[in-house]
């Protein structure tokens, strides 16, 4: 047998929708990953600098566009810091509406992730199912805020739109449908041997490694770290709501799947409580245009984990410094550990499993043969097909499960 040569495969850079786009360079020997180099910053847009030359109100809209999925997470995190500096007490009703939109955002993000994860491993019926259901929550968001993404509901001092009795009823109905569907996905994840076999022991991140590398969100919670800003450092209305922090001790992608699915169930619980307890009153207090000098640090549990904003004001209408640390930047450090000595076939799902915002785009993969420096170009689809086929030859085949689920459609 010919000796296996070492290959280096650069993957990325890619997607314009991210704060932190990622480019991976993978050193391979045969199928085995020897090491991963991560190059970040391809699409750094200088948003922090841009914030300094705009007013606080303009910055809300800029910051809402850091991410197309966690837009509400970023804008809430930012205005919480500004409100703390300005000493504003925002009305309870506004806090509840922020929580409601935040949880709806988590539901749409987790359902989107479930579909992407299904797609990467060749379980496309799951993608069709979960993205169909995701439309239910997208419709609710559009109804409540006027937009499917970038809701524009936040303003300094509260929220910009109230919600009506009618909307509360419609939202509750939608949550019933989603809960019923999610229960079925939990069942699929817990009982179907193909999915358990494919995801178990893949993308392993040991508890100690997760702590050491500062992992956040579902990535950390699946390594049995009960780290959730909603519980640890409550903001908006979370201190008054009853919910559990979901953890799991599988330390792998299977664990991350279970955590996200069970978190969906907790989100429904939170949304129901918000709808029932929504306090009457104003939705906004008047905020000054000029924010007094001061500094604040705000944290928010985004769907992908802890989002952190530091804001420094200097008494003018523009901030002196806005620092944003999105959850993917904290989690991407763990990817190296997850991929070390694993198979190339696992790469799509391992990267997708930290839910790095870029899962929905085409990425080019360049295969360099180090022996003669010839290059082959793979797109993400080819890498994904390679992963699915590699596992099919080894007995992990989703055809039967896809067909089984299709019969329920």
């Amino acid at each position: 047998m010919a000796e296996k040569r070492k290959f280096t495969i650069p993957i990325g850079p890619q997607h314009p929708a991210l704060k932190e786009p990622e480019s991976f360079s993978v050193a391979l020997k045969g199928e085995k990953i020897l090491g991963v180099e991560i190059k970040l910053g391809y699409n750094h847009r200088g948003l922090e600098k841009a914030c300094e030359s705009r007013t606080f109100i303009q910055d809300i809209y800029l910051i809402e566009r850091i991410c197309g999925i966690c837009s509400h997470s970023h804008s809430t995190c930012f205005i919480q810091a500004v409100e703390e500096i300005a000493g504003l007490q925002i009305p309870a009703r506004a806090n509840y509406i922020r929580t409601l939109v935040g949880e709806l955002e988590r539901v749409h993000s987790h359902l989107l992730w479930l579909g992407v994860a299904g797609h990467e491993i060749g379980f496309d019926t799951l993608l069709m199912y979960s993205w169909r259901d995701r439309e239910v929550v997208m419709d609710v968001l559009a109804e409540l805020t006027g937009n499917r993404v970038n809701y524009g509901i936040n303003t300094i001092g509260g929220v910009r739109r109230d919600i009506s009795e009618e909307q509360i009823k419609e939202t509750a109905k939608a949550i019933d449908i989603l809960e019923e569907r999610t229960k079925y996905y939990v069942e699929v994840a817990q009982q179907e041997t193909t999915i358990i076999k494919r995801l178990s022991g893949v993308g392993v991140l040991k508890h100690d490694d997760a702590l050491r590398l500062g992992a956040v969100g579902p990535t950390a919670r699946a390594s049995n770290i009960a780290r959730d800003i909603r519980k640890d450092d409550p903001y908006a209305a979370y201190a008054e709501l009853d919910f559990k922090v979901i953890t799991d001790n599988h330390e792998d992608i299977y664990g991350r799947t279970v955590v996200r699915l069970l978190e969906l169930m907790e989100s429904y619980k939170i949304i129901r409580q918000v709808l029932e307890k929504l306090p009457a009153g104003d939705i906004c207090v008047k905020a000054p245009r000029k924010i007094p000098a001061g500094e604040a640090l705000s944290r928010y549990e985004a769907p992908r984990g802890e989002d952190m904003h530091y804001v420094k004001a200097n008494g003018t209408e523009k901030p002196d410094r806005v620092k944003v640390r999105a959850p993917t930047l904290a989690n991407v450090q763990s990817v190296k550990t997850m991929l070390q000595d694993r198979n190339l076939a696992d790469m799509p799902i391992v990267i997708a499993a930290i839910d790095p915002c870029f899962s929905c785009t085409d990425r080019m993969t360049q295969v360099t043969d180090l022996a003669d420096n010839s290059r082959q170009v793979w797109d993400w689809e080819k890498l994904r097909s390679h992963g699915i086929e590699w596992y099919r030859q080894r007995g992990v085949d989703f055809t039967a499960l896809n067909n089984k689920l299709k019969q329920r459609l």
Binding site: E20, E37, I38, K39, L40, G41, Y42, H44, G46, E48, K49, E84, L211, R212, L213, G214, R227, I229, K231, D232, D233, P234, E295, A296, L297, R299, E306, M308, Y310, K312, D320, R321, K323, R325, L329, A330, V332, Q333
Partner: protein, 154 residues
């Protein structure tokens, strides 16, 4: 006494050259402290080992015209964040790396290196972040007096 107040008092008792008004409890779970550069590492060591601030949320760097300020956002599992602030010289700013304490600090330090020009002693060679490879040397966009028109010149 609140946990935040207890942390503050214990810190002040241990480091007698830090004045009481340099440690502020802004609200529940938020402590801000300015420490001199000379004491920075002993305070950091103490906060990690004795007070168990085991997670580094991020490092913020900012240009305050007469100095560069670094804010280390240290998180505790109880939700308390200790914002440890240290000022360094604005001209040829140098700081020692904290990757021995927090391996995750590497990316935050590289970011400050690119955007503010701070050199981190002890940080191994590696890829820059977040500016592109062909970015002109000595241009650090987060400095207040940085002129973006450099980008228009060919």
């Amino acid at each position: 006494m609140s946990v935040e107040e207890k942390i503050k008092q214990e810190l002040l008792a241990k480091f007698t050259n830090i004045a009481a008004d340099q440690v502020r409890i802004q609200r529940a779970r938020r402590i801000f402290a300015d420490v001199p550069l000379d004491d920075f590492f002993s305070v950091l060591d103490y906060l990690i080992k004795q007070q168990k601030f085991t997670q580094l949320s991020a490092i913020t760097g900012m240009d305050e015209m007469d100095k560069i300020t670094l804010v280390y956002h240290l998180a505790h599992e109880t939700g308390i964040v200790f914002n440890l602030k240290v000022a360094i010289a604005r001209l040829n700013p140098v700081m020692k790396t904290v990757i021995a304490y927090y391996p995750s600090a590497e990316i935050y330090e590289r970011e400050i290196m690119d955007l503010l020009g701070v050199q981190f002693e002890g940080l191994p060679e590696g890829r820059r972040y977040p500016l592109p490879d062909e970015w002109p040397a000595g241009q650090h966009p987060l400095l207040k007096d940085w002129d973006p028109s450099i980008l228009d010149k060919k």
